[in-house]
């Protein structure tokens, strides 16, 4: 008992925390490196990839669509409140279109899908780890990175942009519904505003962000899942860490990508 408590205090000391954090970062880079080398092999197994595309993409669609619908609706309400008396309502469509496509669509989709998919990947792989299924797979000469990680990695990178396209459309539609039905904005005004200052590069930058977010979600889920230990409690911890790390990284990477895209590339 004494040993355990000393050990748990030792684990919380700043240098121990820093070391574990650095270890985590190193392991994530190693994992990504080995996943990249296994991608060609993973592409030769379409069933595994399709299975994950369904689990990560298709099954997340209802959630992403509902979130998007209300995001657009709220954006319309808030924007019209801010505009009142100062900004002409023609800009309502512009502001909703831009904010959804650049920011709200990709980021909110990634956050909710990150919660759903990140948790499910971490819990599934974590359970496989603690019940020795991952060891069994390795013992059978099958690489867990090729068989488990690479399909999830690819599927998330492909499906997050797809989900984002749907989310963008639905969110704008949500904004349109609120604007036309309760804010006295005509559909013509809304549509003209939407077309105003519309740049296709905004859409692409949003989808590029979504691709990175997909990679983050799959990588965190797989990383924490595969290193979970110690039964049900360990799987629980791994799941929490995967979701927390995904959400934090999504927001951090969002800032970095936004800075790069809009202040360097498109500046």
């Amino acid at each position: 008992m004494n040993g355990t408590s000393t050990e748990s205090i030792a684990r919380r000391l700043p240098h121990a925390v820093l070391l574990r954090w650095l270890e985590d970062v190193g392991q994530v880079f190693l994992l990504v490196g080995s996943v990249l080398s296994e991608i060609p092999a993973a592409l030769r197994k379409p069933p595994l990839l399709f299975q994950q595309m369904v689990a990560i993409g298709v099954d997340s669609m209802p959630l992403a669509v509902i979130v998007a619908l209300f995001t657009g609706a709220v954006a319309a309400v808030q924007a019209s409140y801010q505009f009142r008396d100062y900004v002409p309502m023609i800009y309502l469509g512009t502001v909703i279109g831009k904010s959804v496509v650049i920011e709200l669509g990709p980021v909110l989709t990634a956050l909710v899908v990150g919660g759903r998919v990140g948790a499910s990947i971490a819990a599934e792989l974590g359970t496989m780890r603690v019940t020795e299924q991952v060891d069994a797979m390795e013992t059978m000469g099958i690489s867990p990175v090729r068989y488990l990680v690479a399909p999830r990695f690819l599927a998330a990178a492909l499906m997050l942009p797809v989900l984002t396209v749907f989310a963008d459309v639905v969110a704008i539609f949500g904004g349109f519904l609120v604007a036309t039905m309760s804010l006295d904005v005509s559909s013509h005004t809304f549509a003209s505003g939407l077309r105003l200052y519309f740049h296709i590069r905004d859409v692409f930058s949003g989808l590029l962000k979504a691709l990175f977010f997909g990679l983050i979600i799959a990588t965190m889920g797989c990383h924490y899942g595969l290193k979970s230990e110690g039964g049900a409690e360990g799987v629980g911890i791994a799941t929490t860490r995967a979701v927390v790390a995904s959400c934090l990284l999504i927001l951090i990477v969002d800032y970095l990508l936004a800075s790069f895209l809009f202040r360097v590339l498109f500046a």
Binding site: T131, M137, T139, M140, I142
Partner: protein
Amino acid sequence: MPEISLQFRDVWKRLGLKDVLRGVELTVARGESVVIIGRSGTGKSVLLKHVVGLMRPDRGSVTVEGVEVASLDDDDLLSMRQQMGMLFQGGALFDSMTVGENVGLALREHTPLPEVQIDHVVQEKLALVGLEGNKDLRPASLSGGMKKRAALARALALNPKIMLYDEPTTGLDPITADVINRLIRRLQQRLGITSIAVTHDMRSAYHIADRIAMLHEGRIHAIGTPQEIQSTGDPAVRQFIEGSSEGPLLPT
């Protein structure tokens, strides 16, 4: 001198703050069945994991068919593992697949066999362990003994030269345990498979072993035929095989 299949030379392994293995020396001849006994937490499973390269020794070497496991890169390790089968303690069946898919997985991954032939091998391996007709069940709907047998069929799919068993009879009723013991013995005698089993079930050990080795304090403390072990005067071995709480081994 029979050919050596497997050799541990001065193997040391530290896990966390504890030296689990402290200079293990063990040689297993081809076709031989060695059972490693020892208390829970003495590193028996750790020893097995060194054979398949799931763990690497901190010091010393583990050689399988003359090749040092730790020296292999990932690809060579994966191909070496195809010559081995391992039965995990809880079976470790993939619960997202049916029993048949579990057994056929290694064949699908490593052989160019057509689906019809894979199906044939799957049926054959399932029949070998007495599970014919259960191909389409999910692992969740199997009993403990059936899971172990299904896992055994899966481990045998590629006709391994070496079989490793991690607590093959733990948690099974005595009758199912006997079925598993007979299976292990039959596989070794009929197919000449080298086998290493880790257990603390002495009935099982006497049944399947050519030699029994006791792992104690990180080393092979004693080794001998089942008769030699049964008649030994070593107090630690005696205490363990008699299952007594009094003696040099302290309760943990």
